[in-house]
């Protein structure tokens, strides 16, 4: 009965579409490796790309001769920052991708529901309170993380209710965004100019505070969240057909939404608490990934990570070469290159 020829050719077409998407992912991975190496190479003292690869090879136990200073610069100064750029960029990309999936809106980002504003307020409050006697590079991230999760748990409460729409969730998130922005302004208003300067600097977002400790914490958290998300990839794909249809396919929408929201909140809170607020990657990366491989989450999710990681890694290179010798806050660079790019994206989507 079944015309096996036509079915067979459709099957082959699907397989080649799968291969093509896999190729795109590999290509992005390659680009990421390149920008990663360049990220290590650039800085106050330029290291040649060859030396960087040698130093990295040495680090992984290959018997390669490397100058001692190069080795130290690479392994204890540049490498943590470069890894942090990859992890942070990637998790912002994935956070954005899932937020867009969850809210059914390509304009959403991990920051849409006020999570960044809440972290900013948490960090500012900690700085204002003099870190509560703790060391500031411990206390500030904790403050940012706790505050971000607190604000997100209000959203969790909403998401747990049945029959709440994504539109209502966005409205609640935007209300929280304004609340925490005002609270942040309040802290800045009442603090001294020096402190206000410090808060502002934190808000810019910067990778300079990366140490192996916080890189490992971040990488560990993100990996865990990613594994859980990947496991749900088909359910998340189904969610994009609309909540009612996802339900009809047997997805427990309320539960999936809550779970994903928690994971995105943890990722965003971790990332922002260590590097501050880095804008735009969360919106741009998933949109690029969607244009390249569509919304099958088996490809969309990893590619959002890779694109985000690549964008932040190359922004990090740029931030070091714009003004030689000085380090531009990376949060500013991403927004400046992000905005024209985003405009181009919007224009090219016209039908």
């Amino acid at each position: 009965m079944i015309d096996s020829n036509i079915v067979h050719s459709a099957l082959k077409a699907q397989r080649s579409y799968e291969r093509r998407r896999f190729l795109i992912i590999s290509l992005l991975a390659l680009l990421l490796v390149l920008s990663f190496v360049f990220d290590i190479a650039t800085g106050p003292s330029m290291i040649s790309v060859l030396d960087v690869t040698h130093a990295l090879a040495h680090l992984f136990g290959f018997p390669v001769e490397v100058a001692n200073t190069t080795q130290i610069i690479v392994s204890s100064l540049r490498l943590p920052m470069a890894v942090m750029a990859v992890v942070v960029g990637g998790s912002l990309g994935v956070g954005g991708a899932e937020m867009q999936t969850l809210l059914n809106n390509p304009m959403a980002s991990p920051y849409t529901l006020g999570m960044a504003a809440a972290s900013g307020f948490g960090a500012a409050l900690m700085l204002y309170l003099g870190s509560l006697g703790l060391e500031s590079n411990v206390a500030v991230p904790i403050g940012a993380f706790v505050c971000c999760m607190l604000s997100a748990s209000l959203l969790f409460g909403l998401a747990m209710m049945r029959h709440i729409t994504s539109g209502q969730l966005i409205l609640a998130g935007i209300a929280l965004l304004f609340l925490f922005q005002s609270l942040l302004s309040l802290v800045q208003f009442v603090s001294s100019p020096e402190l206000s300067q410090q808060i502002l600097f934190w808000l810019f977002g910067s990778l300079t505070k990366s140490s192996w400790t916080n890189v490992s914490i971040t990488a560990g958290m993100i990996t865990l969240c990613l594994i859980i998300l990947i496991k749900d990839s088909w359910k998340l794909t189904a969610l994009r057909l609309g909540e009612e249809r996802a339900k009809s396919l047997g997805v427990d929408v309320t539960r999936l939404r809550l779970k994903t929201l928690v994971l995105v909140a943890i990722m965003t809170a971790t990332v922002t608490s260590f590097v501050g607020i880095i804008g735009f990657i969360g919106i741009v990366a998933p949109n690029i990934a969607r244009m390249l491989v569509g919304e099958d989450q088996r490809y969309f999710l990893p590619l959002s990570f890779l694109v985000g990681a690549f964008l932040l890694s190359s922004a990090s290179v740029l931030s070091k070469v714009i003004v030689p010798g000085a380090l531009f806050p990376i949060g500013i660079v991403t927004a400046i290159i992000g905005v024209p790019f985003f405009f181009w994206l919007i224009m090219s989507k016209r039908r």
């Binding site: 077409a13 699907q14 994009r240 057909l241 009809s248 396919l249 919304e295 099958d296």
Partner: protein, 264 residues
């Protein structure tokens, strides 16, 4: 066999089901008709467990709906909601595959893909398999979603206005396929239709809803009378039997009763 006992469903003071009881046999196509806003879609949602009725019990083969473990209950269902918009970057094949959500893993085997392609082939859409769903017409989307519902290999198939965007050809393809599969696989098929003539042609059992009550049920020939059409829809109609002995409903224009002189 899907059984509903004493169902009461209401939103505030809007009563959608008032002490409603009926049984839907397997191997039959059950068509629900009734005026707009009588709660046809809500009834399907209640059967699916998405709306909790104030009272009443729902059984499928002696298993009662369990609101704590809806996942188990919903396994039996293929359900196609009314909304047919698909604004997502997926191929037709991927959308159909989602019908078998529980069987999908990161690496898809050939057999699963073949099954999805088979579902598309049966309704004559396999040539669209690799197309992006955003490039499809509304009617094509509706057919793809029908294939998705079939892919679930349901025991109960519920379709909410499944032919609203289809042309004559695809109306026939879908409903013929539904009818033959229902009988071959012993499904309980439930569908909401607005077109009384299609309902008359394809229903084994017709359920007429109005104001939260099951006004009439049975074979189309027994149920569809000019009196029923007038009481349910407030529209005067002629009911004629066509060449196959199936009722055919022809509505009359308001204020255009045939003048006696014209009969001459």
């Amino acid at each position: 066999m899907l059984e509903v006992r004493h169902l009461h469903l209401a939103f505030d003071d809007l009563v959608l089901a008032d002490d409603m009881s009926f049984t839907l046999k397997a191997g039959q196509t059950h068509v629900i008709i009734g005026p707009n806003g009588t709660g046809k879609s809500s009834l399907l949602k209640a059967l699916f467990g998405d709306l909790a009725p104030q009272q009443g019990r729902i059984f499928f083969q002696d298993q009662e709906i369990d609101r704590k473990h809806l996942g188990e209950w919903r396994q039996h269902f293929g359900y196609m909601p009314q909304d047919i918009r698909l604004d997502v970057g997926l191929s037709v094949l991927e959308v159909v595959l989602l019908g078998q959500l529980d069987a999908l893993s990161l690496k898809l085997g050939d057999s699963l893909l073949e099954e999805a392609l088979g579902a598309l082939h049966q309704i004559g859409l396999v040539h669209l398999a690799n197309r992006d769903v955003r490039t499809l017409s509304g009617g094509q989307c509706q057919m793809v979603l029908f294939a998705q519902a079939l892919m679930r290999q349901p025991k109960i198939l519920m379709l909410d206005e499944p032919v609203s965007a289809l042309d004559l050809h695809f109306q026939q393809v879908m409903l013929d396929h539904l009818d033959s599969q229902t009988k071959a696989k012993d499904w309980v098929s439930v569908m909401v239709l607005h077109d009384l003539n299609l309902a008359a042609q394809y229903a084994d059992n017709l359920l007429v809803l109005k104001g939260g009550k099951l006004v009439a049920h049975g074979s189309p020939k027994e149920v569809l009378t000019p009196e029923l059409v007038e009481t349910v829809y407030g529209v005067k109609a002629d009911v004629i039997l066509d060449s196959a002995g199936v009722p055919f409903i022809r509505t009359q224009r308001n204020g255009h009763e045939a003048p006696l002189a014209a009969v001459v």
